[in-house]
Symmetry: C2
């Protein structure tokens, strides 16, 4: 046995419940869990590494179902903006100055902060995602679900178009991206930490023909199609312009047989009740990004609605320039709070449900629920330990109920994580990375970001967002 | 000079803005700030303690305008409950078993976690608050605004009453509490860290006669009256029963000349637009507790409305068994996010406004804005430093704007605080308490809480809240 964590509280999250074990031990051999159960009668001493789990809680690593880490160096670059300015006047003028190297550096920063707060699986959505997987995710020993962005919008005239003017499609652009996406499956076929999805960006950015082609490929390869769906006004205007007044993304996806269990739909806030129903009925999966969509659009993503309809739902953090960071502990609390306020019901989205949403439910959405998401013998060893002696989690009670269940959702910040094990390997130990050089990454990120922002300063000012006025007013 | 922090980013928050200073130094002599400005030309070496502030941000300590720490050992004791069950079936059966010693221990735990996350001023509202001040707040060297709870509801029959049955008042109970409240002013008159407020609990719990008496006393002593206002259905039912159908707390307070700048009204979620307007018009102050009220009632406190009407507003954390903990960094982000979603406007409650809300605005509500809330020469040295090299705050940019302004509100967890100075004294240094014995408090809290919950187990089960059913279902 390679690792044993003993004498700990354990949440297995197996069998549709929390699976609370007192004085439990978890044993790991190679990449897999070989034991999870009572400490008594189990010999943890035969393990190469023995971790004293007393005063700790062990639970499955968290699953971030939708993350873009590429623009991480632009954290804090576009906040408190009108939705209509966010992309073109906020992030856009800065992003133009982010180089390929900056993307890798930013991704390192994003992944390390997420691992520190308990994320072990990353569903990364990016252009040239192969690079991120090879240069960041695999060196960091993190589990990654790689999606290559496929976008057919011709760049030549996009910037000058009004929202109501139809984007032109450039089929060859889609073909190149699709080839990259297909290549992922070959390149990483023997890589235990990597699975792949297809990534048509959105219905307003990819032709129906390409979408159908992608659907076939996804089904053939037992994979899924990860697509942004019903993201708001800009998308709706394009859809109506292209398909006719009154049309919507979900209506068209349904009519074209593009809803199904092969579909993973992200965001979905511009959907009505019947659209949500048909999506769940057709067994499409849904991902919501609570902090991101609330910060950028002022909209609570419909995670609760899809969940109550019985759909498979996961959560993600999107990109840091919107919500601030990639901390799934924060997202669990955030979507619970937002939902309680939206429903005017303090019982909505209770703690136990949030723990499942961020683990096994996310794994299900990504098609990984046989491998991860719960602590069960035979599953991959993706595990986090939480220090229960942190003041925020004090006291710890187990009779007449386990008060640490609400406390890890509503009081923890994510920084109470001590150990992170991914695929059987200790990535974080006692709050310190075993191999990732955090200090150097932070230092480099500061140096490069300074240059990026200075290079972008004129473009950014010229774009003239609300933030530019806030700077003049001494408020930013 | 006693302390100098040099070479730092500073937010003074003076003059209605953020007051951003680059490469700044802050000098402290005794309890006061004697210098805040550029490092250049200022000799920091003459200070007894020199703190290298590079890669740090200095800002005013945060002001928690409404906190009850007494029930801190019950953290996680009442979550995800229907509002109607929260008090009587949730916290109530547990609270009965909390002793006076437990209250002190809990308060220690609550105060230390709040200090760790940057709170330097605590507006504590409690029965026998003198004890908490003497046993916790002063030994911890924290600034406290002490409010004694004045409640006239007769305990003899309260538990057996339905919400629509009128509480009986016991005037002698009110008199005893009022005497205690008055005594505070004498006991702490020479105590620099302590100011006092009057604390009639709520209009449904105190007679109008007593309220008028308290108002006179508050005005006489240049103090204020800190009262829960319009807390929801239970209060409304009592008010209608006592004063007649269609009556409301704010209508009565207005008619009785009990609105004014001597009034600090907490919660206020059960108020309509015209009631909010009259409160602001009469210059009453308002306090909202974002996480607490959202968690317990599923209601977003009307902080934004009062603020937009031009009222003086502060924020607080209420008590831990509702929201989880006392972290004002979390509250800044929480109320911004909740408000953005409520207004469907991502520009609502921007970062700069949250920073002012949690500092100088809070100080104003408590009548302490001449002493604290900004970093200015002559003000009390209540200061926190934030480590900008934390991964969550990386990168740090100052051109063309200061990205750390949104990042400390939307990305920080509160645990990035390195130093806390209160009244010129270092309470936290490099993330460690200088005198508070955190480890022992946590250990004691765990031991005592175990006993409290075990003693309370039968009462709690018998009360039969939703949580009892969740335990049976393996979800808690």
């Amino acid at each position: 046995m390679d690792i044993a964590i003993h004498n700990s509280w354990i949440l297995t999250l197996a069998n549709e419940k929390l699976g609370i074990i007192k004085d439990g031990t978890l044993g790991i051999e190679g990449k897999k869990i070989i034991y999870v159960g009572p400490s008594e009668g189990f010999n943890h001493r035969s393990a190469d590494i023995v971790i004293d789990g007393s005063n700790h809680l062990i639970m499955p690593g968290l699953v971030n179902c939708h993350i873009h880490t590429s623009m991480q160096l632009l954290r804090g670059g576009a906040q408190d903006l009108p939705e209509i300015e966010w992309m073109n006047k906020g992030i856009g003028p800065l992003a133009k100055h982010v180089t390929d190297d900056d993307i890798l550096l930013g991704s390192q920063l994003g992944v390390l902060e997420a691992v520190r707060t308990g994320t072990t699986t990353f569903s990364e959505y990016a252009r040239n995602v192969e690079n991120l997987v090879k240069e960041v995710y695999l060196p960091f020993n993190t589990r990654v679900v790689a999606t290559e962005t496929i976008n057919e919008v011709s760049q030549t005239n996009k910037a000058s178009l009004k929202p109501t003017e139809l984007y032109e499609f450039d089929q060859s652009k889609g073909e190149i991206a699709l080839k990259k996406n297909e290549k992922l499956f070959r390149v990483f076929q023997n890589e235990d930490l990597v699975t792949c999805l297809y990534g048509p960006q959105a219905l307003d950015m990819v032709s129906l023909q390409t979408l159908q082609q992608i659907k076939e490929k996804a089904i053939d390869q037992n994979s899924r199609m990860h697509i942004h769906v019903a993201q708001g006004r800009r998308e709706r205007l394009q859809i109506e312009e292209r398909f006719g007044k009154g049309e919507s993304t979900v209506k068209i996806l349904n009519r074209e047989n593009l809803l199904g269990d092969f579909l993973i739909a992200v965001h979905c806030h511009d959907t009505d009740d019947s659209e949500k129903e048909v999506m769940v009925y057709k067994r499409s999966k849904m991902i919501g990004c609570p902090s991101s969509i609330t910060m950028i659009d002022g909209i609570i993503p419909p995670i609760y609605s899809f969940s109550k309809l019985g759909g498979d739902v996961g959560i993600g953090t999107d990109q840091a320039p919107g919500p601030g960071n990639h901390n799934l502990f924060r997202e669990m609390r955030t979507i619970s709070m937002l939902t309680k306020s939206m429903m005017r019901d303090p019982t909505a989205f209770p703690a136990w449900e949030m723990l499942r949403l961020a683990t096994i439910q996310g794994a299900k959405v990504l098609g990984l629920d046989n491998d991860i998401g719960t602590l069960e013998v035979g599953k991959k060893a993706d595990i986090v330990t939480i220090n229960l002696l942190d003041s925020f989690l004090t006291p710890v009670i187990s009779n007449p109920f386990h008060n640490f269940i609400p406390n890890i959702v509503y009081s923890a910040t994510g920084k109470e994580i001590d150990d992170v094990i991914i695929d059987g390997k200790l990535v974080l130990r006692n709050g310190k990375f075993t191999e990732i050089d955090e200090e150097t990454i932070i230092k480099k990120a500061n140096l490069r970001a300074k240059e990026i922002y200075e290079n972008a300063a004129e473009d950014w000012k010229e774009a003239g967002s609300k933030m530019v006025r806030d700077v003049k007013a001494g408020l930013l």
